[in-house]
Amino acid sequence: MKHVQGLWAASLCASLVVSSLPGIAEARSTPVAKGAEREGYPGQIRGDERILHALNRFTFGPRPGDLEAVKLAGLDAWFDEQLHPAEINNTALEVRLADYPAMTWSPEDLLFRLPSGAVIRQVIDGKAPMPERGALYAVYENAMTRVAAKRQEQELKRSLPVGAQSAADAKAPATMQLGADDTKAVSFAATSASMAQDAKPADPALDPKLESAVLAMPPRDRVLRLTKMAQPQFDAFFKGLKGPERQLLMSDLTPDLRETVGALENPERVVVEELMAQRLLRDAYSNAQLEEVMTDFWMNHFNVFLRKNEATPYYLVSYERDVIRPRALGKFEDLLEATAHSPAMLIYLDNMQSIGPDSTAAEKAKVAAARNPKNKKAPEGLNENYARELMELHTLGVNGGYTQQDVIQAARILTGWTVERPQRGGGFQFDERRHEPGTKKVLGRKFKEHGEKEGRDLLHMLATHPSTARFISRKLAVRFVSDDPPQELVDRMAKTFLSSDGDIAAVLKTMFHSPEFWSEDVYRAKVKTPLEYVVSAARATNASLTNLQPLVGALRDMGMPLYGCVPPTGYKWDAADWVSTGALVNRMNFALSLAANRLNGITTTWTAEETPTLTARQPALNLLADLDSDDAPAKPADAKPPATSQSATPQTEEARLETLLVGERVSESTRAAVLEQFEQQSSGAASAMPVAMNQNPNQARRAPAAVPLEKQDQLLAGLLIGSPEFQRR
């Protein structure tokens, strides 16, 4: 039997594998013929499971039909395709992403068209220009009015006697109170007053006529009408809208108009919501899955926390889109350099403010302080934060062989690496005045004074350092192989890293062709992070995601808010981080809600009648299927009579769901628990409690009408997605 022969050959090779000589390593990396099984290495994953393993590790989870598709193409070919994302057809995803035009703008444009609190304050103080006219003017006006109203409220509260303070917590009049010298402000106040006259005099919250009139208007007119409302009326109007009415207001708007309305309400929120939505859509729907997986990896490795300051959300859009994703499968040094030049990183790790102690800027500050000793503003100086994290977290690793002195010297090299007009979306700027003069020494190497080039040379040294090769390789191995990857594998990957000038794709290839990657020990051994869990569940149930907020909320509840990792270490991929009592409760509840379509705007598109291919029931929502398949668009399926599915036995139905959702067989214990539930549901038992509570045993026999198959399937699917098996990849 083939199996026995394999075993014999395996035992021969076992001793060779253990000794792990470089010669053997190279022999292993010789490509094997497409589709051929790798004989000879003990305990290797075989057959369909190899494909499922690859899908689980290199994507955010298999979708129904993925296994067959990859089988057809061949695993090696598929992997190679994934390493070349630019050549992958992603039309369907692009159609979905077209819903978020703002996500294509530069930081400067974003801050101008969806102004942050800082921008608004600058405009109020006359330090920044206000848009001339149009919807953008209304956006600014609303935002400014809100800020001014709040300031007014606080002024009022401070001037009132103690007792009346709480009473004043109620609405304060939203009149303008701006500096009289400020001509812009005065003209703004005048315009605002005249605009206020345009709006209906009555309190719109109590005016149902206004609401229905606005909702009845065609889209462009509707939005125009909204822009004409002064801020207090606008906010009151929106507050008065109930959920379904709000949806009615937005549902037929084009993406641009939708963004405008969002901006009228809260410009910054539009940026944050869209940033998170596009990220989840990409993770769930992109055909270039490995690119998204690697983007997630690098976004964690080069972590930037969303709420570092008011401009960070705006910079994050460009950071992910322009800095990280295009380089996710390229050269590590390119990635490192790009992050080191990115405003997002320079702000997050405080390098923006770092000033060389002997720099021109420092001299000036000393002179100013001497002239005015009373003004004890904190003297600006060297900030080591970025230099330290650059070495500790981005390149060498905490044990990579650098000292505190190296950190200080590196910090000096990086002085002057700053951002111009950071609150307005400016880009990288090398400020010579802040740069520390003199020669620096890092890791034994001298860096002669040379402005920005010193930093570039430093980055090159770090990017090509053997410690970096090991550190990055190990991190990749932890993400893709196991929580404690074998040292031989890491060493092999590090070797490729160094010999390929830090080519990430090459390192991944080495990993892909290593027996350690295919060892049975690591099959389904990794615990999914909350992001991987939530997205894999959406993919397994072929969910249509018209509203991403439930997923954003679920991630927050599970302890992994998107872009929300505060410390620069980023989220980790170790099981210990994600397995806890609270986490499990959240995951189980999420699974049940998702499968039962209780998440607002998220519909799983499989049903009892659905076969595991991407047929569309609602073409408008499930664009992915429509545009990807060569077949004619599926007509909305006629409701098939339930009779066909009632012929299914519990076992077959459960098995079908297993295949559909988990992709393979689950353990006996899981199957037993799920089947018991199925039987309970089919017989109409009201409770699964082993100890009969208030039920008369005889009553249980006389079952009421069986729970409809669809509902049963939903519970079963929920159980399978919440199962221990589905927690792993």
């Binding site: 004890k376 904190a378 505060v566 410390p567 214990s669 899981t670 539930q677 699964a688 159980l719």
Partner: protein, 419 residues
């Protein structure tokens, strides 16, 4: 009837506890068998954002305090005098009674020796218990519980280390399993109700017999916790005090609820934010004042709610750093250094402000701008954990701090933990 304690903690008692067949009081007794000695519960509150210690515990005799804070200082006439030198912000009236009763102690000019002014670095350092060291990935409180185990092995419930909030904070991260509950009434699987949902039962069977070691263990723990909580009947809870409105108050109410339910909680944590008053901080009234009112009223209500059980509780507050002694150009204050900590407990020698006061004269300030540090926060926490939880190996709890009993402020009597 001899009741085997170990047995009770597992399937037997809990299955019993899940039914309505047994009277409630017996259920409580059954679970109390596994409850720890009542004298060992610690409640930790983290004020995130750097609370302004100088306006919270006001050194009203310091002339420079008024010179440096022309618009936001608390007038001497309006502070709640404590000892002739310090006074409480008027919105902390709820604390005055506890102070006078001798339960509330204050440590001023305390905090972390690390000079970072970054919120997240400082919070991280304070919670990990190793200021300046970024590679620590667990928290001081988790290590304290671990140390307690090393000294005295005991069975624990899933609720031993509880965080009231969405996730387990760094303070409680580590080897000892901790549980985060954001809302007591939502801590169920597949919906609320007097009985477990069909889904919950199915999941329980699934995880209970799973060959997956990690998920088997965590799964069991999870369902134990859900059942214990259900048996404690949270829906019927009526607090014995009036809590103010607000998220923090709600969290304190739930902590009290859970502590009284005899679930085996040893350490509870929650945080409260909104202290980062860079602008328009206000003085007697305003942003900070409003925060302080809820803060103190909620803690006072918690104390009252606990009633007789308060005898075994120690509560301690902290914030990552204080704020600048001088007000800034926008009616607020910026990131500073030393701060004020509160320690509340029946076993606390309260009614006193501890710590050496460094003074607020210009030359006495840290870097010319902040209140200088004279007490390392680890000395405070070290004393508290050793006398509350019985964690005596402080070198393990706070590595590098070299804490010794001589360095304690003696906020609490005695030095020997419970037998």
């Amino acid at each position: 009837m001899e009741i085997n304690r170990r047995f009770l903690l597992h399937k037997g008692a809990l299955a019993l506890a899940g039914t309505t067949a047994i009277p409630q009081f017996l259920v409580r007794t059954v679970m109390a068998q596994g409850a720890v000695h009542p004298n060992r519960r610690l409640v930790v509150i983290f004020q995130r954002g750097a609370a302004d210690g100088l306006n919270i515990v006001v050194p009203y005799q310091e002339k420079n305090y008024y010179a440096m804070r022309p618009s936001i200082a608390i007038p001497q006439k309006q502070v709640i005098d404590l000892d002739g030198f310090f006074g409480l912000h008027p919105s902390l009236a709820a604390f005055k009674l506890l102070y006078d009763q001798g339960h509330l102690a204050i440590v001023h000019a305390a905090g972390s020796p690390d000079m970072t002014r970054s919120h997240f670095d400082a919070q991280d350092f304070m919670e990990s218990g190793t200021p300046g060291v970024k590679s620590t990935d667990d928290g001081w409180l988790n290590r304290a519980l671990e140390v307690e185990d090393l000294r005295h092995r005991q069975d624990h419930t899933a609720f031993r280390a509880l965080a009231l909030g969405a996730d387990v904070p760094r303070t409680l991260a580590g080897k000892i399993p901790a549980i985060a509950i954001s809302n007591v009434s939502n801590f169920t699987v597949g919906g609320r109700g007097p009985a477990p949902s069909p889904a919950a039962s199915a999941f329980e069977a699934m995880y209970g017999s799973s060959g997956d070691r990690i998920f088997h263990a965590t799964g069991e723990e999870t369902f134990d916790a859900v059942k214990m909580l259900r048996a404690a009947n949270p829906a019927q809870y009526k607090p014995a005090a009036d809590y103010p409105n607000g998220e923090f108050s709600n969290n304190m109410k739930q902590i009290a609820q859970l502590l009284k339910a005899n679930l085996g909680i040893e350490a509870a944590f929650t945080d409260v934010s909104g202290w980062d008053t860079h602008q328009n901080q206000g003085g007697v009234d305003g942003q900070l004042s409003n925060r302080l009112r809820e803060f103190s009223s909620a803690i006072r209500a918690f104390w009252q709610d606990m009633g007789d059980d308060a005898a075994g509780i120690t509560l301690v507050t902290m914030s990552e750093f204080g704020r600048t002694a001088r007000e800034n150009g926008t009616g607020g204050t910026d990131h500073g250094h030393a701060n004020a900590m509160f320690v509340l407990g029946a076993g606390v020698r309260g009614g006193k402000v501890y710590g050496r006061w460094p003074g607020l004269a210009n030359e006495q300030l840290n870097e010319g701008r902040d209140l200088a540090l004279t007490t390392d926060y680890r000395a405070v926490l070290g004393e508290v954990v050793s006398k509350t939880l019985g964690a005596d190996n402080l070198d393990r709890v706070f590595p590098g701090a070299r804490l010794r009993e001589e360095g304690f402020l003696h906020l609490m009597p005695g030095g020997t933990p419970r037998a």
